[in-house]
């Protein structure tokens, strides 16, 4: 089954850098780009611009922290509190090395926290680990 990654990132330069990295880290995966937490929710819950998209959840969400409207951490809190979408793997990919963000991401249930700049190898490793851990949580 083709892997589907939802990338939530508001800065177009970071989008370009991350798409390049993903092409090396997870070749063959389909990547959808959204620009803030609100669009992530619209995508997942088939609302707004995404109401007519084909149903189905992404394999993993790559999430920036600082975004307009709904931030990455606010979105993560909402994700984990909604049973319909709580089980999706989430890896934070952020420029913020503030300890507060890292701790909060961990407490809110992020499956990984990567600090930019990141190599394709590290990104691949973090995604692999996140998916394995989520699979482990799903299968008793």
């Amino acid at each position: 089954m083709t892997e589907h990654i939802l990338l939530a990132e508001d800065n177009p330069r970071d989008v370009e850098i991350t798409l390049d990295l993903l092409a090396s880290a997870r070749p063959g995966s389909i990547v959808t780009v959204v620009h803030n937490g609100e669009e992530v929710l619209d995508f997942l819950l088939l609302k707004g611009d995404f109401r007519l998209r084909k149903p189905g959840h992404p394999t993993l969400i790559l999430l920036d922290v600082k975004m307009p409207k709904i931030t990455g951490l606010e979105l993560l809190a909402r994700l984990r509190s909604d049973p319909a979408i709580a089980a999706i793997a989430v890896v934070i990919l952020s420029s913020s090395r503030h300890e507060k963000d890292m701790l909060e991401a961990h407490d809110l249930g992020a499956d990984g926290y990567l600090l930019k700049p990141v190599t394709a190898e590290r990104l691949a490793g973090a995604i692999e680990l996140a998916l394995r851990e989520r699979d482990g949580k799903r299968t008793p």
Binding site: N11, R13, I17, D20, S95, S96, R97, P117
Partner: protein, 323 residues
């Protein structure tokens, strides 16, 4: 009389814009102790406000005053003086808390907003270097390389500064710290950097100290990483680590046979961004030792260095055994 006191103090409270911290808490002491002392004691409690003046402190103070100062007017004067002092302490504490909040917000902004553009410069310059390699002449290739290196240096500087600034505000988690384990972990982390080099480690048994494990790990990492760096030009690098306990203190040293330094400038070693070696000789931001110094200070310990140019350096740490 108690009600009159309450009314008068309440008006003073209102008229001074609550500056002197009079509060309704004086009702309780008035009832328990009696109207004059009670009113003043209540004022003192109110002025103490958010300062750590516990109920036990307050009753101890009042009891001591009752026992040692028999003159009512003198007691009144002491209460008023203490009340004013407490109010000023509270105001100063609020000012410092506001300054700290602003610093936290600034640090957060730097942590993300200043790092982002540097990451972009580094990433796109690297892409340019790869994609245009065959089309760039020697000078242009060097220019692009300089852009990449400078962006990486700036990013490291920001990260080091953030680390340094955060140290003072980070919560201190005290526990027994086995320095032997810390050193073993740090050595493993540094293995990649000494790959292919002839480095001898001479590690003696180290004491278990009281402190913050994460912070002490940073100290050992900075000292050992420095030893590895400044011995990089030696054919056979020797790094010795040891420690002992004496006179209620734990002593630890890290010694190397590397580049050393001029002892005339020893005082500069632990200052932020001060370096005693050219970037062309040895890379570095000049903040590692400042970070180590700050951490050891938080442990109420000391750190000092000895050295001679070309004859290595020794860093001595002392930590109180019962910190």
């Amino acid at each position: 009389m108690a009600m009159v006191s309450i009314a008068v103090l309440g008006w003073i409270d209102y008229l001074t814009g609550y500056e002197y911290g009079f509060s309704l808490f004086y009702l309780i002491p008035i009832v328990i102790i009696g109207w004059t002392d009670g009113a003043m004691a209540g004022t003192l409690t109110g002025a103490a406000g958010s300062i750590a003046w516990s109920t036990a402190d307050y009753f101890l103070f009042h009891t001591l005053l009752q026992v040692t100062v028999w003159n009512g007017f003198t007691r009144l004067a002491i209460y008023v003086a203490m009340g004013v002092l407490m109010a000023r302490l509270r105001a100063e504490r609020e000012r410092l808390q506001n300054a700290n909040s602003e610093l936290e917000a600034f640090s957060y902004s730097v942590s993300h907003d200043l790092r982002s553009p540097l990451i972009h410069i580094n990433s796109f310059a690297s892409k340019l270097q790869k994609q245009a390699a065959s089309r760039l002449d020697e000078d242009s290739t060097r220019y692009v390389g300089t852009i990449i290196d400078s962006a990486a240096t700036a990013l490291k500087l920001i990260d080091d500064l953030l680390e340094f600034s955060h140290l003072g505000r980070r919560e201190f988690h005290r526990s027994d710290v086995n320095l032997n384990e810390i050193v073993a972990g740090v050595r493993q982390q540094l293995e990649q950097e000494i790959d292919g080099r002839n480095v001898s480690w001479n590690v003696h048994p180290l004491p278990t100290v009281r402190g913050d494990p994460a912070m002490l790990r940073i100290v050992m990492l900075n000292l050992l990483a420095n030893a590895v760096k400044y011995t990089s030009r030696e054919e056979a690098a020797v790094i010795e680590i040891g420690g002992h306990e004496a006179n209620g203190n734990h002593f630890v040293f890290v010694r190397d046979n590397g580049a050393g330094f001029n002892p005339e400038y020893a005082a500069k070693l632990f200052r932020v961004f001060e370096r005693l070696h050219d970037q062309r000789e040895f890379e570095g931001s000049g903040i590692g030792l400042a970070i180590a110094h700050r951490i050891i200070s938080r442990h109420h310990g000391t750190i000092r260095a000895e050295g001679q140019p070309g004859k290595g350096a020794t860093f001595h740490i002392s930590l109180p055994a019962t910190s």
